[in-house]
Amino acid sequence: MDRDTILTVEDLKTQFFTEEGVVQAVDGISFTVERGEILGIVGESGAGKSVAARSILRLIDSPGEIVGGRITFQDELIFGLEEGEDGELREDPEMLTNKEMRKRVRGRDIAIIFQDPMESLNPVFTVGEQLREFIEINRDLDPDAAREEAVRMLREVGIPKPESRYSEYPHQFSGGMRQRVLIAMALACEPQLIIADEPTTALDVTVESQILDLVADLQERYDTSFIWVTHDMGVVAEICDRVNVMYLGEIVEQAGVDELFADPKHPYTEALLQSIPRPDRRVEELRPIAGVMPEAINPPSGCRFHTRCREAREVCRRYNPDARDVSGPGEARHVAACLKHDDVFDVGYPMSDPIETQAEGGFGAGLASEGATQEVADE
């Protein structure tokens, strides 16, 4: 393991056991987080990015469960399974207990910021008291020192009149200000890693911009690592160092932010980039991705994207490619899960026949509930 790697996720699988069947929300993803970087996880709704982020802190409630993989944070094992004597999988004895997770990891070493700040703030206590209590417990300060520290943190994240706003309630704060409070709370224990789950999605663009500036500034000063979960390619381009693109529970592409935008190596990433209108110039015609993402309860065979892919061939129905390094000689590491990189996967993609998918057009408007994914693409 690289010395500067603080978090390693290997082959993580999280499933939800519902009445309709097993939802493979996260299906075997691997990535690392390096010290001081902002790692993006980007994808559309249903891609499994939030589940992936929450799995890292073991914040998965029933009927969901982490069923496989290994999560290592520095030298501690957050999640891991081992084979028991009777061949059954059981929890690795090294794995942190729930109590250890609660007392040592969450909030202290790894903090999380959610999309809706009200989810994390108690409406009946003042903002300042919540922050003070959090600091008092986690940093072993006496109440007065904790209060002072709380005010300092509020000032640090740009809350105006921190002394007087300390004793206000969450509902008296605007959405942007609440998100600042959560950032203050996340930073209060100077964690190694902050997981931010769509923290700016609910905010107006000018406020989002303020928050992104604040995060960039704080990140530089505290050298905290971030996992930034978002659906917005603009935000990714703006703040991330490296990016994971997720589709239907899998990571389909992984690269540095410049390489990902300049030379996407997975057809999904490429299609996603072509489908977004841009603020800085006019795009004559948007190229939408045909269809909708299938349900994770019953994913397509082979490559999960093949039903909507413009480059799908017959082999794509049969092989589900894992994510492999497909960078050329002298290029930075660039991981993609697509069989078209035949020199890496070698399953005969060039000789395989192209298949008819909705991406080619055709008039098959299927229904979302059937798992069929046709939605007519406009030429």
């Binding site: 105006p160 800085d280 229904l367």
Partner: protein, 455 residues
Amino acid sequence: MSDADRSAVELSAADEVEFGETLVSLQNVTKHYVNGGGLFSIGYDREADGFPIRPQTERVRAVENVSFDIRKGETFGLVGESGCGKSTLARTILRLTEMTDGAVYFRGENLAELSGSEMRERRRDMQMIFQDPQSSLDPRMKIGPIVEEPMKAHGLLDRDGREERARELLGKVGLDPQHYNRYPHEFSGGQRQRVNLARALAVNPDFIVCDEPVSALDVSIQAQVLNTMKRLQDEFGLTYLFIAHDLSVIRHISDRVGVMYLGQLVELADREELFENPQHPYTRALLKSIPVPDPRAEGRQAVLEGDVPNPIDPPSGCRFRTRCPQLIAPAEYDLSDEAWANVRAFVREVKRQTFVPESEADVRRQFFGDAAPTGLADEHVSKAIEHVVAEEWEVAEELLNEEFAQRSICAREEPAYEIAPVHGDSRHFAACHLHADGDDLAAATNPAGSSADAD
């Protein structure tokens, strides 16, 4: 569908308005909501002359004095942040909520003067699509009958004719006509928005108000729906009022764009002109704030600080002035640009109380190191610094507000100017005193109004 059937549907759509001419005209549209007035909103007033308890009401100035024209066949984009009044304006145009003041003309006819039944008749030509495709479809109805509903309401066609038309429309919006008998929950968000489109088209309207129609959709689905909307516009000669908070979407779909802030229209121009030559500081700030999906593009910048003020008590003059990075210096002080910039920064930080004042010299060094105001302006600043060091923040804030912010032309007059466009020849309206050299609309025509593009 036979020609006879079609003409029955198109009967009222006899086109009196040529493409490119004004179809909808808003004149000083104002909408205030009155809060309170109920049993629990009573205030106790100790100083009152008579009975000390009286009802307490407040006016939310959601939309104020908005004027613009929408031309037949165009897409007019209306953009602004949450709470700016854009959705209220849309509802007001269709008379889904009654306006407080002003007028909306549709094909030259004042909608406010129509009776209830006349208005119902007129709604055939004006349809609306909402943001949430889920809640705007009745879950107990099949999509075929949903699309037929407006035809039924307006007594168009017979039963078979309606079904035939519904199936045809489902095909037109990119759904399978076979799905006539399916329920809304069987469709994805993007497909449901297509059902909404088909329903809006059922009565063959001229004008469709689209309130954030793609905001709830994933980006790849957004593109599908946007493309369909464009195709339908060409095919049916539709006019859209397209409301969105997403500037990228607005840039993609609109022909002309209006920008709203706190209930008012602050800028209006052709799309190209607005995006390439924005003239209002708010529009510029918005454009700079959007993250661009390209790591090599010129970086985004957070230009604005703080939050949008409360529409119950909006700032005087220009409503944007409290957050404006280009507030104009009061004419009575002789300030250099640098000194004025420092004064503004000082005023802002005092208001936000974000620094810890050690001593007068320290505050001075912190804010006025490179350029300090002189004369009268300096006296006010010095006094304010004294108050700040004495921890009398509110006193300092009040003093600075009175002597600087309130004396600016931005606080005293409502701006409304017309400027010469760089791109295209359509009129460019900007509500900002920085353009005082343009045509002053506020002074010229009516003192209250801002007739944006009365062509």
